[in-house]
């Protein structure tokens, strides 16, 4: 798996492989873009699309459109979150991304990858990727680790409700967000 962070229009950044010892460069045609969105007041936040089916070797580029976000894998290595990526994949964690900044990961290990936005996880800003086949810890119930002796952080209730189903991702390949990112209503 490769990761890279950059600013749009600036170029540069870094690239690393975190799923396999072999670097895999994805062509531009294979690039998947996921936007990190927010309404102007910061009350409605989310990834769009929220679920994507991709093939091993494809790259995902997260683009911060508004507000401040991260793309962070569910893994004990990321602040003791529960493991919801393949056991043999390396977790990733972008830094905080400001508008127009991007972060890329190239996926080489098959399975389900659940991820979250660090400042907005409690509000339900999460996403799900399926690389090749829907296998791994991400296919298990959110509390699967409790019977295995782990004391990881649970996935917050709002986040649990926000994941697209595995079936929807497999059927649609791309699951768009249904959130309204226009201005919040005023009383």
């Amino acid at each position: 798996m490769l990761t890279r962070r950059a600013a749009l229009g600036v170029g540069g950044g870094f690239l690393a492989n975190v799923g396999s010892s072999n670097l895999v460069r994805a062509s531009a045609a294979e690039l998947i873009e996921i936007h990190m969105k927010s309404d102007p007041g910061g009350g409605v936040v989310g990834f769009d699309p929220v679920g994507v089916l991709l093939q091993p070797g494809q790259t995902v580029r997260w683009i911060c459109d508004d507000n401040v976000h991260t793309a962070t894998a569910y893994s004990p290595e990321n602040d003791n979150h529960s493991l919801r990526i393949p056991t043999n994949a390396q977790p990733w964690a972008s830094d905080f991304l400001l508008p127009k900044q991007t972060f890329e990961v190239t996926f080489t290990v098959e399975g389900i990858y659940d991820y979250f936005c660090a400042p907005h996880e409690e509000a339900g800003m999460v996403g799900r990727l399926i690389v090749g086949s829907a296998v791994g810890p991400g296919a298990l119930p959110f509390d699967y680790y409790l019977t295995r002796g782990h004391q990881w952080k649970p996935v917050p209730p709002a986040a649990q409700r926000s994941f697209p189903t595995i079936e929807a991702i497999l059927a649609q390949k791309t699951v768009r967000s249904t959130l309204n990112f226009s201005k919040m209503p005023v009383k």
Binding site: P40, G41, G42
Partner: protein
């Protein structure tokens, strides 16, 4: 005569006290222990809709956060109250209000941001008029 002068001074001090306190924060940067929020967590210096924020880190997450326009004038005092504290019926008492006169109050829901990474409400004490909110619009 002395007693009368003392009483007059006392009245002046009572009236002047809050004004003096407000003057000390009405221009950025406010004095210690306030620190610029963008130097504490990863946020832009200027946040559209709020301005440039300063906070005493020991008061997080509630605040007060002092918000300044691009010219360095205090426009609002903001408290950030986590929804879980409201849902838990927590008493939040004695929040400082160093910014002086309040023109109007706004409440905004926020899903979270660096520094206050849980859903919360921004309670905004505006020290400027509704029309002057545009000073921090963008």
């Amino acid at each position: 005569m002395f007693r009368k002068a003392l009483m007059t001074l006392g009245i002046v001090m009572l009236v002047a006290g809050p004004t003096v306190a407000a003057e000390s924060v009405e221009k950025s940067p406010p004095p210690a222990p306030y620190k610029k929020v963008s130097e504490l967590v990863k946020l832009p210096d200027f946040l559209p809709g709020m301005g440039t924020l300063y906070v005493d880190p020991t008061t997080l997450p509630d605040g007060p956060f002092l918000a300044y326009d691009r010219a360095g004038k205090l426009v609002s005092t903001i408290y950030m109250i986590p929804l879980k504290d409201v849902d838990g019926h927590k008493t939040i008492d004695d929040l400082k209000a160093p910014g002086g006169n309040v023109d109007h109050v706004s409440l905004y829901y926020n899903a979270g941001h660096p520094g206050v990474e849980v859903p919360h409400y921004h309670i905004v004490l505006w020290h400027v008029t509704k029309a002057q909110e545009k000073l921090v619009e963008k």
